[in-house]
Symmetry: C2
Subunit: 344 residues, 2 copies
Amino acid sequence: MSYITLAHGSGGLETSEIVNMLLFRKVPDKLKLIQGGLGIDFPDDAAAIPISDGKFIVITMDSYTVNPPFFPGGDIGKLAACGSINDVLMLGGKPIAIMDSIVVEEGFPIDQLEKIINSFMNVIKDEDIALIGGDFKVMPKGQIDKIVITTVGIGITDKLIIDRNVKPGDKIIVSDYIGDHGAVIMIMQQGIGVEETKLTSDVKSLTRLMIPLIEKYGDYIHAARDPTRGGVAMALNDWAKASNTVIIIDEKKIPIREEVASYSSMLGIDPLYLACEGVALLAIDNEVADEVVEFMHKLGFKNARVIGEVKKSEKLSGIVLYRSAVGGLRILEPPRGELVPRIC
Amino acid sequence: MSYITLAHGSGGLETSEIVNMLLFRKVPDKLKLIQGGLGIDFPDDAAAIPISDGKFIVITMDSYTVNPPFFPGGDIGKLAACGSINDVLMLGGKPIAIMDSIVVEEGFPIDQLEKIINSFMNVIKDEDIALIGGDFKVMPKGQIDKIVITTVGIGITDKLIIDRNVKPGDKIIVSDYIGDHGAVIMIMQQGIGVEETKLTSDVKSLTRLMIPLIEKYGDYIHAARDPTRGGVAMALNDWAKASNTVIIIDEKKIPIREEVASYSSMLGIDPLYLACEGVALLAIDNEVADEVVEFMHKLGFKNARVIGEVKKSEKLSGIVLYRSAVGGLRILEPPRGELVPRIC
């Protein structure tokens, strides 16, 4: 008999495999999407339902299980709001509403729950997003660890940004330092360096970046992702596969904080596999790539930069390559195995 | 310091209180709904977002934690699909799509997970509903008990059925025997009478009832609910409060199976507080009430019947009254305290 392992939930290859095996392949093609929209035919950050006038409702759903629920730079409430807002944005949607379902352990302190909910609320009030529904359940002590929040983000758009539209010639851009969230949670979970670290999670809503960017450069944004579970490595591998391209990124150009780099190297983990919770990864038409980076700087994302490019290749189609600082190319595999449980 | 109790999750008064205190009252009025739609301004089974041509997208979200995950008549997969489909129907929506997020315990047998997912799939395939997205997470052993499934149901309608539209003169109708699901789960959880019981959960999708009913009698259905957590008692109390009416129901008329009645009486629980997972509770315009019951019988719901009526009363507004079989009226309070944890 086979059993579920932590690797099945890591957001890497094993997650794709089990979800495909148990779920996706059992759904008849016509039930994988609403005709004209986007569903599990090409799994992305969110789904889309066509409404009239060429518009779409964008809907995303994520369960947040982060452990610990409070961490430097945020908590599970802030994460549950920002994560779902960002997923709507990455499909090109303007977030308009949110729903959340809270499952909490009997005995959880109400003041801590209030703190978590306040963090959630502060985000949606800041962003002028409506809270239109949800659910609330309690599980007996010992049957759930603290709290799990599932959030539904709802947005509207007249143009979807879809993974498979990545094109040869595109430049790959990140909006900020990568891996901060993943590193902070690992530090907290392992209890090593908790006192001395100055690192905070990068968890934040990306509306202030994505809304103006979509408005000004909508037609040039070929793909967008917030690289959470599985990090930049997973997102780029998804893109290369979905678009039948090869993506080459450059170690020297990837913005990584000193502390994230040294912590990763200590644990033997590539920071490209670490979750980000407030970073946009973009595939931008070469024609405007430098202009877009400059625009991102002006919007306050001063660490934004080009980290790689997309090429056409018959032989290496679907592959991500990584040019190391000392030269030489190697394949950047999609994440596999158990990374960090309950990272988001 | 105060702590979360099982009563907070029972779906009764304490649930309303804590959700109000921590969530609803902190949301500014303009962020309680999408303008023209329905949100937490008047919490119902689902929310609604207006799209063009007077149509609405109906969205519902529920976390299913039922314990045990397999029970006579169904499992958590069937429950997670039917429960969300029914919530969409009860707001007048035609279910078109579903999303689900599975959080499962490390070590959970994959064949059991497959069985659960197959049950989920069988429902949505039967109902021709698209699966358009979701999430999949694993929590380490001992951090979650078996499995929690959160489902989002999505539907479309041009007429919402809303709790507060219950009107004096309306007849209260149930579509079937009440309390079967709640009784089965209690029997399983308590381990008393498991071998001898012939009872099965009533979990089922109500599309075959609600779609024709809405088509034929849409304007006469003033309110609809599937009375899950908190049972018929909670739903009727919500209606009485939302519509400022008094609702009077008649013990003699309520369809309850012999076994549910005797089990409830043994445990000192009123079956009106037990969860149903495949029963519609309706407030129907008096003009067509008998005709509607007959139509329900023709649709195969042969136990459907009128169980009470709605009246206007200045003094008793917001109250539910219960006429016992031996005569005499008493107040049917909304459920309070810890009923059954993880009933759905």
